[in-house]
Amino acid sequence: MIHALTLILACQLAGEALARLFGWPVPGPVLGMALLFALMLASVRVAELVTPTGTGILRHLSLLFVPAGVGVVGHLQQLGTNGLGLALALIVSTVLALGTGAGAFVLVARLTGDKGSEDV
């Protein structure tokens, strides 16, 4: 477990360093994710090493949102003033994104002769 945690933190650290070094807009942990994925593809041993610990962290992913979510106490006024605009933007854009995303998948699957989900 300690090795897996070390590797995950090392990937994050490398990601943060790369993002700073090249001035990329991508958050360091996202680069860390790409790095870990590349390492897992390169070596099955790495994949087996990080999977139990990493899956453990992801199992309680929702908990990790709580401290940031409590920050809403400082934004109640802003939410009140802009509530309608924010609510409309969230609802309409989520419905549109769901529709276009699934639609694009089905369309391209059909164009490329993919036989549908039963085959997978």
Partner: protein, 238 residues
């Protein structure tokens, strides 16, 4: 009563009390969500946030004091983002087989999620700072916070918008897909992962295992794509 006040002033100064309170609030939220049959509206994060917000208000505690304890939980968002490589790796064969449809759905869903939110927000007169806060709302929270911060938005407000987006996606996905007559579980899953991140993914797993796996892929890939897309899209409205 004097003794209680003394103990309270000691505890209130240490990070332990708010770290423990965060975990207790989450455990309560999770238990209530389970009791409600995992109904989309009974979101454990939402319940925990409300409980803690009320507690902070009752004890007259500032968010800065609270965060001194809660930062230990908050810190794990970074490693959790890195760990998203794991579901992506586990599904690598399915990803390779449906590579082109996945790319198309990811691009269409991600661009629509960011651009349509900005168009609507801009039209309704939201400030540039609020638009930056809104732009990454379909991305999984750890990444959304990072994007919001680097764009000059408010990460804490982004966290709330991300959670709301997840709940909206989880509620509307099944009726919407049935109306559109989209029956491919991969398409349904991927779309909800892109549009509604982890909360949408959890919902997809409840409906169909393959939809759940593809939702996880959509969430992970969208996290990377939005990091590049959001700064560009926001630039169009500045």
């Amino acid at each position: 009563m004097f003794e209680f006040a003394e103990i309270w002033s000691y505890l209130a100064a240490s990070p332990l009390i708010w770290l423990t309170a965060t975990l207790i609030a989450y455990v309560i939220g999770d238990a209530l969500a389970q009791a409600a049959g995992r109904a989309p509206l009974a979101n454990p994060v939402l319940i925990a946030v409300i409980l803690l917000a009320v507690l902070l208000w009752l004890t007259q505690t500032s968010y800065a004091t609270y965060f001194e304890g809660a930062q230990f939980v908050h810190f794990l968002l970074g490693p959790a983002t890195v760990a998203l490589a794991i579901p992506l790796w586990q599904q690598r064969h399915a990803v390779r087989r449906a590579f082109l449809p996945i790319c198309a759905a990811l691009l269409a869903g991600s661009v629509t999620a960011v651009l349509s939110a900005l168009v609507i927000g801009h039209a309704l007169g939201l400030s540039p700072q609020l638009l930056a806060t809104l732009a990454p709302k379909s991305t999984t929270a750890p990444v959304a916070l990072g994007i919001s911060q680097s764009l000059g938005g408010s990460p804490t407000l982004t966290a709330v918008l991300v959670i709301l987006t997840g709940m909206i996606g989880a509620i509307v996905v099944t009726p919407l897909m049935n109306t559109l007559r989209i029956r491919d579980w991969r398409a349904r899953g991927l779309a909800v992962g892109v549009a509604a991140h982890g909360i949408g993914t959890a919902r997809a797993f409840q409906v169909n295992p393959q939809a759940g796996a593809f939702a996880g892929i959509g969430m992970a890939l969208n996290a990377m794509l939005t990091a590049f897309l959001a700064p560009w899209a926001l630039g169009l409205f500045m």
